[in-house]
Symmetry: C2
Subunit: 261 residues, 2 copies
């Protein structure tokens, strides 16, 4: 299983992660076997931290567990299951490409092997660095966004969303398309099987979130006006109403608020 997590916030917030496989009492039973990756929005760019290998004790992991980065959008991807894929840095999510002066990132959970043979996903401008179906699909999306948008409409949601929806539909017909996509302003989320969301305002200034494989600590400014939305493969808090995303729909979050669907 893969696990997805994302945060969208109206004000920069700090998210630190403990990655591993956790037991019922919270103890870490083991590392993730097949890599993990994080993306933190930095104005028009994303800071990407990822690792292809089990890394419970690596320097990279220690960096993540003690990071001081504050951001308005954070995306993470954990790969827990072994598969047919080549385990390497460039096959590790999230993937990133620049379009019209904005880094875009994708984290995808699910197998869509038919993408590798489908001419609708043939790259023309953005080419995969690795071998995964997910990255090939991402490159096709970036090609379509480039063709359908222009430098001055690259962030126009009304123009962008139909392209993402069309692509998500084609992706889902090839298999499972749980994904998180961001252009640094919008967070697009799509569920085929499992993906939950919670929205709140006035959050606690510090809190811990957790599942069997992810522990996250969220530190916000505590400002009364701050809004935060979280998306995850499974609900990470017990005292809130996490709702399942509508299957097959592209949900859009912006500054901690659901703006579409």
């Amino acid at each position: 299983m893969c696990e997805l997590f994302a945060m969208s916030s109206s004000e920069p917030a700090n998210v630190t992660f403990s990655l591993g496989v956790f037991g019922e009492r919270g103890g870490r039973l083991g590392p993730h076997r097949d890599g993990w990756g994080l993306a933190f929005a930095e104005r028009r760019d994303f800071r990407i931290v990822k690792e292809a290998e089990p890394a419970a004790s690596s320097a990279c992991m220690r960096f993540v567990e003690s990071n001081e980065i504050r951001s308005t959008i954070v995306i993470s991807h954990l790969r827990l299951a072994t598969g047919r894929r080549i385990v390497s840095y460039e096959n590790t999510h999230p993937f990133a490409r620049e379009l019209y002066g904005r880094t875009h990132v994708l984290a995808h959970n699910g197998d869509v092997p038919g993408v590798l043979d489908d001419p609708r996903f043939e790259p023309s401008w953005h080419f995969p660095l690795g071998e995964t179906d997910s990255e090939r699909a991402f490159c096709a999306l970036m090609d379509r966004l480039r063709a359908g948008l222009a430098p001055d409409t690259g962030q126009d949601l009304a123009a962008k969303l139909p392209i993402v929806r069309q692509w998500a539909g084609e992706l889902a017909r090839h298999g499972t398309a749980n994904f998180l996509l961001s252009d640094g302003e919008h967070l697009f989320a799509h569920r085929s099987t499992r993906l939950f969301v919670v929205e709140r305002s006035c959050p606690a200034s510090y809190e811990s979130l957790g599942s069997d494989s992810l522990r996250a600590s969220l530190t916000t400014s505590g400002a009364a006006t701050q809004r935060v939305a979280l998306v995850a493969t499974q609900p990470l808090t017990l005292d809130e109403a996490w709702t399942e995303l509508p299957a097959g729909e592209v949900v859009v979050l912006r500054r901690g608020r659901r703006v579409v669907a």
Copy 2:
């Protein structure tokens, strides 16, 4: 002053860095004021670690100082002087873009402000994320490489080098063009003012290299056949013959060996 450093090696080698401003006896007198960045080749991708702010004690810096990454190409950029530039993540070198399935990275030392007004550097496909003259110049190079090459000739040095040379000449006419550029296989280096190179085979399996602002530790396999070439703003070892790169020429290194110029 900015400081550039690069390694090209026939076999993966580990380079760890201590970043700071060092005194005569090696003690760290202070952090870099305006950011630093590193790029490590990972097959067809690069792992980028960079930070816009003084960071002598940051988690990101600790990661760099204890990193376990082995790579055949490493590029680093330190910015030591304050300038007119906006200090932000996306304005921090190295810059990266994907072309024909290979991440390309650039670290540049020098001011080339005329690039911002020169229509020859107007972006058409690769757009800057930030405001620097360096990133705009890099995007123009990537546009030219995309236009002049094809997916199956993207790594053809005979086709690529004339484009890089033409661009380097135009860049140098706008100011100072000391740069390090890589496509993950080739390391291109160009000197306007200061840039030195040393090549060796059978290096020591462990050694320390240092200048006033950079301490690097290089761990190689110790194999008799390993070749390593280092490029730096100033010679980093005392007992070797570092030679200044020919001014205005694009030098190409591959697998630890100079293959052009």
